[in-house]
């Protein structure tokens, strides 16, 4: 990504929009590592006065491209940025991450239809396909597969990857930049709570819940922190 924490609104920056706003802690960790704010500030998450709100707020935190948390809206915003880049002759790219449960929202498909029909090749949709939503498995509520075939029908180029493999993620992003004339979708298969045995044992039971204090040390050890 082309970004500059010292000039977060630079007109030529690449954009990353986290449409699944409940993934805010992940976004904040990356922004801190990228230099948008001190890593120590991560501990103010969700506390009064902190810009690290429960869901991302673009008015309070540099690097956040869209205020999200009401699902289904981020890809439309991404289209707006992609269209602006097109009419201004800029070569920046736009990446939008959505959840699989989020993909039940109708607005996403309004947006997918538009992006495909207008060949927005500066726009990449990343679907975090972890298989679970708030109350149950996605497959038990609104099965989405085959997601890649659906998106190809909407005139996207698609690739399905292991979302935990950094090599596959890097390859997919390189591939996305090479696609001309069509938007791209990366279906990233992921496991909720990856790396923590307690969470992986029952991935449907931990949505929005913190790890119990007496399990914290083991969990941190398992992910190498």
């Amino acid at each position: 990504l082309r970004y500059d924490p010292a000039d977060p609104k630079n007109a030529d920056r690449d954009r990353f929009i986290l449409s699944k706003g409940h993934g805010a802690p992940g976004l904040y960790s990356v922004l801190a590592e990228a230099g948008y704010f001190p890593v120590e500030d991560l501990m103010t998450l969700r506390k009064l006065g902190s810009p690290l709100e429960g869901h991302p707020n673009m008015c309070r935190l540099a690097g956040v491209e869209a205020s999200t948390g009401s699902l289904g809206q981020g890809f439309s915003i991404g289209i707006g940025h992609a269209l602006a880049g097109r009419i201004d002759g800029k070569d920046y790219r736009v990446y939008v991450m959505v959840g699989d449960g989020e993909s039940e929202e109708g607005q996403l498909w309004e947006a997918v239809m538009y992006a495909g029909n207008h060949g927005l090749d500066n726009l990449t949709l990343i679907i975090d396909h972890n298989g679970f939503q708030q109350t149950d498995a996605v497959d038990h509520i609104q099965p989405l597969d085959p997601l890649d075939e659906k998106l190809r029908a909407f005139k996207f180029e698609t690739r399905t990857i292991d979302g935990h493999s950094l090599d596959e993620v890097a390859d997919a992003l390189t591939w996305a930049r090479s696609v001309k004339g069509k938007p791209q979708a990366i279906v990233a298969r992921t496991v909720k709570g990856k790396g923590v045995s307690l969470l992986e044992a029952s991935p449907g039971d931990w949505h929005g819940k913190p790890i119990p204090p007496d399990e914290e040390a083991k969990a941190l050890e398992e992910i190498g922190v």
Partner: protein, 319 residues
Amino acid sequence: MSFGITRIELTEGPATREAFGEALAELGADERIVVVDGDVNNSTYTNQFKKSYPDRFFNVGIAESNAVGVAAGLAGAGKIAVVASFSTFLMSNAFDQIRMSIAFPNQNVKLVGTHAGISIGEDGPSQMAIEDVALACAFPGMTVIVPADGPSTRAATKAMIERDGPTFLRCGRPKVPVIYDDASEFHLGKANTVREGDDVTIIANGIMVAMALDAAEGLAEEGVQARVLDMHTVKPVDADAIERAANETRGIVVAEEHLAYGGLGATVAMVVAERKPTRMAFVDLGDTYATSGKPDELLAQYGLTPDAILDAARRVLKD
């Protein structure tokens, strides 16, 4: 007169939606302006902008939620984004998108709702925006404008584009009498006194301003001098003009083409209650959906007429 008002033109003038479309096309030389359409550009008159600036015009199809989100993204990339659709489809269908993608992040998007009120006529209640002002006023930071005629809609369109921040402009379908001339002053948040008077005040916006002027003529025949305020900006409302009216006249009538709840009447009453309680009466749609019919027939059936304003003023003065 101070605002260049000549007289009520009873010959029909341009529809406010048409004046908006013309003004937008004229402002379109500013390359920051982009327009997002939900496939109603020949009804909202954004087709005039489209004709001159096709590269900056985006018809996303019948998809208001996506239209609002795309506009938010364009604004996020530095554009002045205008979304125009039928007011009920824009404000009701895309309410959450306006809340989350525009109002909360304070994006510079202009929402233009046309075909507002019951005066759209035969198409019937599914197409009539009668809750839209209440919905728009509910958003923190949203400026809400309901202009009365062609010239003031042109001025409102320019002011809306010049303002940095989310703004809602409400336009109507039918032709409406011309009240202002092109030299009239228009400032967001400042009511226009379109008729001086010290006995009673009529506060109106949209098509009800012409009716208020008509009613004021009727009151004059009874020896009553009505002050008429065009409260084109519902939010932020001109509280000082309301306070002066409460102090200097014996009561206030509010007239609007909208439900009783959450519109101009409720807004004015809030100011009156806090600053200077006085007698009030309300001319509006009350708490009901309308039906199909000719615009004039509907306005008469639902009590949005000069006579209804006249009666309300008499009630205020009697107590």
